[in-house]
């Protein structure tokens, strides 16, 4: 059975994922290009909220789509394509974070500033007077720090649920665990975030 559509549904005119996947499997690489264009922002969002670093996100985004392209023949149509690509992205990112734990901890300290200084990042929340902007900026920095204190698994669940807007069922499929585990991780993660952001929210 086809999953519920992803948070930002594909335009009506464009061919469905299943057709594009079938064409890719048949050797039409331009079909995969369409899939990449369709999902690049969402996959970027998942990875970026887990690593909090643009350069690493870009590398992981490339690796994710590269792996998906190489293993497109192993994709089975019983799951939605975006579930499959999210799974690859999450697994790639978790592996990356585990491999680079020491380096990651150092880079995270600088990353909030790095993100704020990046002019290419669009933050619609940052509009209005300067004082409000500063407060929001400080809050976002604190939020990012709190997120980075969570384990990779908890961060992934929070990212998929709260940022990407996926359901517990979808997250369970992506993470390869039960819905109960997803709920449990989500509860724990929210609790930790609330504790770390005490005084801000």
């Amino acid at each position: 059975m086809e999953e519920s559509p992803p948070p930002s549904p594909e335009p009506e005119q464009q061919p469905p994922d299943r057709e594009l996947v079938a064409r890719t499997q048949a050797g039409d690489s331009s079909a995969f290009d369409q899939l990449l264009i369709r999902y690049q922002q969402r996959v970027y969002g998942v990875i970026h909220n887990m690593v909090n670093n643009h350069a690493d996100t870009n590398d992981l985004l490339m690796e994710t789509f590269s792996k998906a392209y190489q293993n497109i023949h192993s994709y089975k149509a019983d799951a939605a394509f975006y579930t499959w690509i999210y799974r690859i992205a999450v697994n790639q990112t978790i592996n990356f974070l585990k491999r680079n734990k020491s380096r990651h901890n150092i880079s995270m300290d600088d990353d909030s500033e790095d993100m704020e200084s990046q002019k290419e990042f669009i933050d619609t929340a940052l509009s209005g007077d300067v004082e409000r902007q500063n407060k929001i900026s400080e809050l976002q920095k604190k939020l990012n720090e709190s997120l980075m204190k969570l384990s990779e698994q908890h961060r992934a669940v929070v990212t998929l649920f709260d940022v990407q807007g996926l359901s517990h069922t979808e997250i369970a499929k992506i993470m390869g665990c039960s819905e109960g585990t997803v709920r449990s991780r989500l509860f724990y993660a929210h609790k930790q975030l609330q504790k770390n952001l005490k005084g801000y929210v």
Partner: protein, 169 residues
């Protein structure tokens, strides 16, 4: 069982804050270049030299794991199980092959290879005739020469009267 409604109420502020992270995106110009970069990387990968068999095997396994087995702890279990199956199949094959063609011990003793024999064989057709050749042949394999190719005989029946053991220049 968690009280979902209560949790939602409790964490609503956190969830609102997390929802603002949806806006954290690079500009559209970055995403316009993603496909181009992807194609570049794919081309670069295709011209890279082929890795060793083991490296490719490990890479393939990692690729399969990342695609199909989300839990890292289970990957090792699957790898061990896979190796165990391969080992069992391999042992079974070798056992079957062994039972069909059981190794036997030969009671025949092999003659040690005589290197001199080859030299003697090479000399034989030429009918060792001269004294020097006879001496050379005898030094290589006297037994062989005595039995087959050259009849045993004295090179000289007796020393000539003019034989002088000293050499004068």
């Amino acid at each position: 069982m968690f009280n979902t409604k209560r949790n939602e109420e409790d964490f609503s502020q956190i969830q609102k804050l997390l929802a603002t992270k949806r806006m954290e995106m690079p500009s559209q110009s970055y995403f316009n270049g993603v496909l181009h970069e992807f194609h570049q990387r794919q081309r670069a990968m295709s011209v890279q030299p082929r890795n060793s068999f083991i490296t490719r095997l490990v890479a393939q396994w990692e690729s399969i794991c990342e695609t199909l087995i989300p839990r890292p702890s289970l990957r090792y279990a699957y790898a061990v199980a896979g190796l165990a199956v391969l080992l069992a199949v391999g042992l079974n094959e070798s056992w079957n092959a062994g039972s069909q063609e059981a190794p036997t011990l030969s009671l025949q003793t092999e003659q040690p290879e005589n290197k001199g024999f080859a030299f003697a064989e090479a000399l034989a057709p030429q009918q060792v005739s001269t004294v020097d050749q006879q001496i050379d042949a005898a030094s290589i394999d006297p037994v062989r020469l005595d039995n087959k190719h050259v009849m045993p005989h004295y090179v000289m029946a007796q020393a000539p009267t003019s034989y002088d053991t000293t050499m004068a220049f």
